[in-house]
Amino acid sequence: MLSRIIGVICVLSMLFTFLTGGGAAASEAILTGAERAVSIVLTLAPAMALWCGIMQVFRRVGLLEYLSRLLSPLITLCFPTAAKTGVGREELTACITANLLGIGNAATPLAIQAMKAMKSAHPDTDTASDDMITLVVLNTSSFSIMPTTVIALRSACNSADPFSILLPVWCASLVCSVMAVTLCRLCAPLTRKRDIP
């Protein structure tokens, strides 16, 4: 699916590059894209290392276990397979907690940890499981309590009240997260194959 989207975007972009005659700009942009990928990883890597390390420690002292019991109704609702088998439950809890608390740069590392944990249940398949999809969709409709980037941007542009958007953001995030989980659970049986639980 992702490869098809990339294909469509490439063809569309090529078409417009011909139409507008922006070949030079396009070739530069493609190379800049590759550079940006590496620089994103460079900014991501420290956060990944820090959060994966901290999580390992929290897991060892039993904090994750405690948290996941606390959030277990939510986990059961969103990730039924993980809740039932216990595989990836702690990682999912950590990821959701980080998102709820708005520790922005922890979301990606912890979500990747959760994906890895869920994948470990089916190491040989290249098909996504129901819970993995729910996690991806849930994260694309970002459910953070503190949208720090936007608020920082707003104050940088001299907003009279940078926080005025919080209430609508919470409403929108809540409704969209509920919708994300509902749609994921409704669609899951439609695309399920025999070998995926």
Binding site: V38, F58, M115, S141, L153, S159, A160, C187
Partner: protein
């Protein structure tokens, strides 16, 4: 509200106290975990190179301007300011481009105008869809993503319109 910024330092202090008091080999645990983190970050590079080359090709081609002019009349019909369209098109593709566009909108229309606030709500309640899907699935070698992307796009589309509606009603 600034209390939220104290979360990370507090959490990190708790972590430090754990290291101090616990009898477990927590220092080694941290190092092991951090090493895994670095490894997964490095493994992401190929996936991200493919994605970002495509996205920045799209950004440079002018296709986004064309889509904007195509969709503008439709948006005005449903009461969505067409100034927001470039943001809506780039939001699922590129986080940095969306940030730059939001900053432009804040400059031109003002962060407290209807456009500025709607842009803020859209930015705050959605995320870079393609990046997240590529990174999450790429990190564990998932190729068949089943209904993930269609559902994610549907939710994002709904989220955008719902954000505009909320801004009309609440602000």
């Amino acid at each position: 509200m600034t209390a939220a910024y104290y979360l990370l330092p507090i959490l990190f202090t708790c972590f430090g106290m754990l290291l101090f008091f616990s009898k477990h080999p927590l220092y080694d645990d941290f190092v092991t975990g951090a090493r895994e983190g670095i490894e997964s970050a490095v493994k992401l590079i190929p996936t991200l190179i493919l994605l970002l080359c495509t996205v920045s090709f799209f950004g440079a081609s002018g296709a986004s301007e064309w889509l904007t002019s195509l969709l503008a009349p439709l948006c005005e019909q449903i009461g969505l300011p067409s100034e927001l369209l470039p943001l809506l098109i780039l939001r699922p593709l590129s986080g940095s481009a969306a940030n730059a566009l939001a900053a432009d909108l804040f400059e031109s229309a003002g962060p407290d105008s209807f456009i500025g606030q709607t842009a803020s709500v859209i930015m705050g309640s959605s995320d870079t869809l393609l990046y997240i899907a590529a990174v999450y699935f790429g990190a564990v070698g998932i190729k068949k993503s089943r209904h993930a992307l269609p559902v994610a796009f549907a939710v994002m589309l709904f989220c955008i319109f719902f954000s505009c509606l909320l801004c009309r009603v609440m602000l």
